[in-house]
């Protein structure tokens, strides 16, 4: 095989296939959750330490901006969760061809968005 291929990649014409889109969102959502870890641990601490800190936390979380942040993190968690289950299914050879790869990608995107809306409505 040739080692040196000339590459002419038209980046503006290349479209990421759906499984690739789910994959990059898996990374982005995972990184988002990693960066949110100190915030989430702080929230756990405030919620458990005393009734005063609990009340304080609830007041802070009532702010629309806080709710929006939590909703974003909820989506990140749910997408990472669903896409992760898809990868486990792929590891176990449940996804065999391109059609299944595309359909399961659609299912991951749809389920995580739907659950985000559903849980978001339930919590507020």
């Amino acid at each position: 095989m040739d080692k040196e291929h000339p590459k002419h990649l038209a980046l503006h014409l290349i479209k990421l296939p759906l499984p690739g889109f789910v994959s990059i969102l898996h990374r982005i959502s995972g990184l988002l959750l990693f960066f949110a870890l100190p915030l989430l641990l702080l929230m756990l601490q405030y919620s458990l330490r005393s009734i005063e800190t609990y009340t304080q936390l609830m007041a802070m979380l009532a702010h629309p901006l806080a709710k929006l942040t939590l909703l974003g993190l909820l989506w990140a968690f749910l997408h990472h969760f669903c896409a992760g289950l898809r990868y486990l299914a792929i590891d176990l050879h449940y996804v065999r061809d391109l059609a299944q790869a595309r359909n399961s990608s659609k299912a991951v995107l749809a389920t995580s968005l739907l659950l985000t809306v559903l849980l978001g409505v339930m919590l507020w």
């Binding site: 995972g30 990693f34 870890l37 641990l41 601490q45 330490r49 009734i51 009340t55 289950l85 590891d91």
Partner: protein
């Protein structure tokens, strides 16, 4: 030829497997916790702290959090290995993430047993 670098992967199944085992554990814990919370008729401070008052719940929560930190470390390391090429910068990020994860682990124990 494989060129092994200290900031590279461990060229084995271990991390791949740990990432999946921790994922399964976190999934089980999250679904159980979410199910329990959604089934509560009312959710206030007493119910919330009552849930975390027993040793088994604290132990499983710590196990969940340690899984989160280990899983996150593997994921962040994979991302860093893909996008950050200079070995020095990689090493600095790796050390930082490992130290932060250890601090998170200590903090988690303080949160769960210091309430």
């Amino acid at each position: 030829m494989v060129s092994r670098v200290v900031t590279g992967a461990h060229y084995g199944l271990r991390d791949w497997l740990i990432q999946r085992v921790t994922a399964a554990l976190m999934a089980a814990y999250s679904v159980a916790l979410a199910g329990y919370l959604l089934l509560q008729p009312r959710l206030d401070y007493d119910v919330w702290t009552g849930l975390f008052s027993g040793q088994p719940m604290r132990t499983f929560t710590l196990l969940f959090l340690l899984s989160v930190f280990y899983h996150a470390w593997i994921g962040v390391r994979d991302i860093v290995m893909d996008y950050v090429k200079p070995a020095g910068v990689r090493l600095a990020i790796h050390v930082l993430v490992i130290l932060i994860s250890l601090l998170y682990a200590i903090w988690s124990v303080q949160i769960l047993w210091g309430m």
